[in-house]
Structures are given as structure tokens and as C-alpha cells.
């Protein structure tokens, strides 16, 4: 009796969260899907009409779309490479016995807590500015011509900023994983004459594989949605050189008022995100049992 009572109470306690998330997922997504088949522009007073696949075809044949998808991939892969490689190196370094380990950790994770617009503006104005930035000062100090980062290398600049924001996350996760590495096994390998490189390849790397997978998957979810960093630095330019898919859809919706087109882009973004999501869910799901 008691269990049955508990069960129905449990159902009641779960219900609000489930219903809210169900609404949050289904209603806007359903509306996006519906709008994606409409000719619907907020500036067009004649109203809406059925468009069929027009919006998708329009998106699909627009060179800006391919540029944006390409930029999205470069941005995600660039940031992932930098954060995972440097993150592993830094995690291994601060896992060693060092003086002031607590403070070193605090300094290294700090960028993660800087909100995206602030991070982007700091880098844009204080570090990468072609005449007053620290990079320009450094270049002048070494007698080089300063680089106009956002004009010459817009996408690279954004990759640097975003990598700076996410490096702490990768480092922290990998450090957590490193700390559960079996020290005795390491020592045994060392005694058997395994060099540092072979110990890294045969012991450390396999041990970190799972954490790396998690870092890559979770970061990808967030990196696909990079927006504020682009907004405050390059505005997606020059041309479309630093426009990712998120920014392209934002521009269609908010600057061109093309509701139908933006909705079609949104559906494409959902499909792309789903590829990643499936892998992440598997990785997490395995851990639930």
C-alpha cells in the first residue's frame, strides 16, 4: 500500500518538470518547423503564405550558408584541438607537485567564469587591437608590424578567444580524470623501464580517453552555439568570413526579419546538433547504470 502511495506521489512530483520541459521542447520547435514552410517576413505587410520547401532550398543554394557551415566546422574543430591538446598538457603539468597548486588552479580556471561579451571585448580591445592592444605592443617591441587581427584573421581571432574561454573547462575535467589515475601502475611501468612517452601513450592517454570524449562532446554542443563573441568582435565579417550557422540564422531573423528563412536554418541547426547529441547521450547513458 505504502509503495503504491509513494509511486503516485513520485509521479506527482515528477510531473511539473516533465510537463515544463515537454512544452519547452515541443511548442517552439513545432512553431519553428511550421514557420520554416512559410513565406513570412516581418517587413512584408501582405502577410504569410505557404512556401513549401522554398526556404530550405533558398538556404541550401545560398553560398553564405555553405560558408557558415564551413566556418562553424573550423571554429568547433579549431577550438577543440587547442583546448584538448593544451588542456591535457596543462592538466598533466598542474597534476605534478608544484608550489601554490591551489592558486595556480584558480588562475587557470578563471577565464571560464568570464561572460562571453566581456571575454570578447577584453580580447578585442585590450589584447588584439591593432594600435593599442598588448599584441601590438609586443610586435612593436620586437620591431614587427602589428597585425590587424579581426580584419586579417577574423575566424582565427574568434577561435583564439573561444579557446581561451574553454581551455579551463578541458583542463579541469582532464585534471579530475588524471587524479584518478593509478599511481602504483605508473611507478611499476617506470620501474620496468617504460619511458615518459610510452607511459603517456600506453597508460595516461587510454585513462583520459573517456574524459576527453566527454570534453569534446560537451564543448561541441556549446561551440555550435557561439554567438556573443562574434556579435561584439567582427559582426560576422568581413563579408561572411566569421559568420557561423548560429550567427547566420540570427541575422536572417533579427536583421532581415526573414522568419521563414531563419526557421528553416534553425531546423538545419537542430539536425546538426542531433548528430553530436546522439554520441553524447551514449557516453553519458553508459555511466548511468
Amino acid at each position: 500500500m505504502a509503495t503504491r502511495q509513494t509511486q503516485s506521489l513520485a509521479r506527482l512530483m515528477r510531473a511539473p518538470a516533465i510537463i515544463l520541459l515537454l512544452i519547452w521542447m515541443l511548442v517552439p520547435l513545432g512553431m519553428t518547423l511550421y514557420y520554416s514552410f512559410l513565406n513570412y517576413n516581418l517587413l512584408n505587410p501582405t502577410g504569410t503564405s505557404w512556401a513549401g520547401w522554398f526556404n530550405y532550398r533558398y538556404f541550401y543554394t545560398d553560398p553564405a550558408f555553405f560558408e557558415a557551415v564551413g566556418n562553424t566546422l573550423v571554429l568547433v574543430l579549431g577550438v577543440l584541438t587547442i583546448t584538448v591538446v593544451l588542456g591535457t598538457a596543462i592538466a598533466m603539468l598542474i597534476d605534478k607537485p608544484i608550489f601554490g597548486q591551489g592558486i595556480v588552479r584558480i588562475l587557470i580556471i578563471s577565464p571560464f567564469f568570464v561572460m562571453p561579451p566581456v571575454a570578447a571585448l577584453i580580447w578585442k580591445n585590450m589584447i588584439m587591437h591593432p594600435s593599442y592592444g598588448v599584441f601590438a605592443d609586443l610586435a612593436k617591441f620586437f620591431g614587427q608590424a602589428p597585425i590587424d587581427w579581426f580584419a586579417q584573421y577574423p575566424l582565427t581571432s574568434i577561435i583564439i578567444i573561444v579557446a581561451w574561454q574553454w581551455l579551463p573547462f578541458a583542463t579541469l575535467i582532464l585534471l579530475t580524470a588524471l587524479q584518478s589515475l593509478d599511481g602504483e601502475q605508473m611507478e611499476a611501468a617506470e620501474m620496468d623501464g617504460a619511458g615518459a612517452v610510452s607511459r603517456f601513450i600506453h597508460l595516461t592517454l587510454p585513462h583520459l580517453a573517456r574524459a576527453m570524449t566527454v570534453v569534446i562532446l560537451i564543448q561541441t554542443i556549446f561551440l555550435l552555439g557561439i554567438y556573443a563573441e562574434i556579435l561584439v568582435t567582427t559582426n560576422g565579417g568581413p563579408g561572411n568570413a566569421s559568420t557561423n550557422l548560429t550567427y547566420l540564422i540570427y541575422r536572417a531573423a533579427r536583421l532581415n526579419f526573414d522568419i521563414g528563412g531563419a526557421a528553416a536554418g534553425g531546423i538545419i541547426a537542430v539536425i546538426l546538433a542531433n548528430f553530436v547529441a546522439i554520441f553524447l547521450m551514449r557516453a553519458v547513458g553508459r555511466n548511468l547504470d
Partner: protein, 274 residues
């Protein structure tokens, strides 16, 4: 002898680690330093010693009314977190202590809602906000931020609640504790650390959110993330002022973040890395 070598390697590692840490932290440090400079000093070239003037902090308040976005940030971060907890605590409690066959599926489905790119629902949310008058209101944004972080909150609470031994509950039930006793005297004391950790991480996430806050506010409800983003245009060249605004915007959350390293790993990896 061996000891001396050990100390020497330790010093070597320490120098390397501190160098890396200072390089990574440098942009933040330099922003804080610049915030204490005058505007002329700020663009006068590389200089780590400020004149310690507070004029930029005053200017941000008097010229830009810094106080309002700051209050908005506090209200949005706390409001959305508290609201999420109210919905999430019963749900996570039920799933942790009365699991059914479908609990795992429900949790995975909740996680999947987090995978939905925000930009995919930009159009409908924007239009709903325009038509219902929620645009540029704190109410609207609190709801969005709450829904956005709800899956993470439920997941984190669930992983914490699951660590509370079930035998304690059984023992309490055997002793004739009512459901109310169970919750008030047994579960609550054991659950509070987990709830506090979850709250901390969620406040950080909500404070730093910068997609919806920029899309759905103009002036009235704009929190710091939207306010600072507006500095990107003409005012961008007032660096000392920008630095002062930035320093104030990140300082509270940075300090909270330093205390939440463990929760961060747990919350953002959905328990996959511990």
C-alpha cells in the same frame, strides 16, 4: 641527494605551471589593472601600474547607469535558479528515491532538451515575446533562463540525491516516520549540500548567459551580459570605462566560481566524470 633533485624538479614544474597560469589569467588581470587607470593612461601603451583612479567606476555609474543592469543580473540569476530548484527538487527526489523502469529514459530525454540549439527556437520565442508583451521584461527572461538550465539542475540534484543512502529512509520509515518527517528531518539535512552546489553552478550559468539576454532585452530588463555587449560599438574606445564595467560584471561570479570547481565538473559533465 635524492631529496635535492626532487626539490629541484619541483621548482622546475612550479615555474612552468605559474608561467602558464599567469599567461592564461593575464587578460583578466590586465582588465582589472586598466579599470584603475584614466582613459589617457589606458591607451598610452603597455603599463602594469595604474594610477589607481576610481574615475572609470564613477563614470560607468553616472553615464551608463550601471546599477540597473547589475540589479537585473542579480534578479535574473537568482530568480531563474530558485524557480528551477522549486520544479527540480521534487522531480529529482522522486527519480532518485522512487525510480521506475522509465526513470533512466526520462533523465536522458531531459538531457536531450539541453542539446537543442538556442538559435533553432529563436524565431518562435522572439515572436511569442513580441506578441505577449514579455519582450524586455525580467519575468520573460527569468522563465527562459529557468527552462534553459532546468535539465542541468535536475541532473545535478539527481546525482547528489542518489548518493544519499536509501537505508536511512527505510530505517526512518520503520520507525514510523511520516512522509513529512522523512523529508524534513532525514532528507533535507542530507540534501542541502547538493542543493547548494547546484544553486551555485546554476547562478554562474544564468549570470553569464549571453544569447537570450541579448535577444530578448533592450534597456529595462537588460542584465550585465547584454549591457556589456552594447559597449562593442561607439563607446568601445573608452577602455578604462569598459574595463571598470567588465571588472564589476565578472568579479562576483569569478569568486563564486573559484569555490565551485568540483560542482562545475560534476554539473557540466552530467556526472560522467567525477
Amino acid at each position: 641527494m635524492a631529496r635535492a633533485v626532487k626539490t629541484r624538479t619541483r621548482i622546475g614544474y612550479s615555474i612552468a605551471a605559474w608561467t602558464v597560469a599567469l599567461i592564461i589569467f593575464f587578460p583578466i588581470l590586465y582588465t582589472v589593472i586598466t579599470s584603475f587607470k584614466s582613459e589617457q593612461e589606458a591607451i598610452a601603451g603597455f603599463d602594469l601600474i595604474p594610477s589607481l583612479t576610481l574615475e572609470s567606476y564613477k563614470a560607468v555609474q553616472t553615464q551608463n547607469d550601471y546599477f540597473r543592469p547589475f540589479v537585473n543580473s542579480v534578479i535574473l540569476a537568482l530568480g531563474s535558479t530558485v524557480l528551477a530548484l522549486i520544479v527540480a527538487i521534487p522531480a529529482a527526489w522522486a527519480m532518485a528515491f522512487s525510480p521506475t523502469k522509465r526513470t533512466k529514459d526520462i533523465l536522458m530525454w531531459m538531457l536531450s532538451t539541453k542539446m537543442m540549439p538556442a538559435v533553432a527556437v529563436l524565431v518562435p520565442i522572439y515572436l511569442i515575446f513580441l506578441r505577449t508583451g514579455l519582450m524586455d521584461t525580467r519575468t520573460g527572461l527569468v522563465i527562459i533562463l529557468m527552462l534553459m538550465n532546468l535539465p542541468i539542475v535536475i541532473w545535478m540534484l539527481y546525482t547528489y540525491f542518489r548518493e544519499i543512502p536509501g537505508e536511512i529512509l527505510e530505517a526512518a520509515r520503520m520507525d514510523g516516520a511520516s512522509l513529512r518527517d522523512e523529508i524534513v528531518h532525514v532528507l533535507t539535512p542530507m540534501a542541502i549540500p547538493g542543493i547548494a552546489s547546484t544553486m551555485l553552478l546554476n547562478v554562474i550559468l544564468a549570470w553569464n548567459e549571453a544569447f537570450w539576454t541579448i535577444q530578448l532585452t533592450t534597456t529595462n530588463a537588460a542584465p550585465l551580459s547584454a549591457f556589456i555587449a552594447s559597449f562593442s560599438s561607439p563607446q568601445g574606445l573608452f577602455w578604462a570605462k569598459l574595463s571598470a564595467a567588465s571588472t564589476m560584471a565578472i568579479a562576483p561570479i569569478l569568486i563564486m566560481g573559484w569555490f565551485s570547481q568540483k560542482q562545475l565538473v560534476r554539473g557540466l559533465t552530467f556526472g560522467a566524470v567525477k
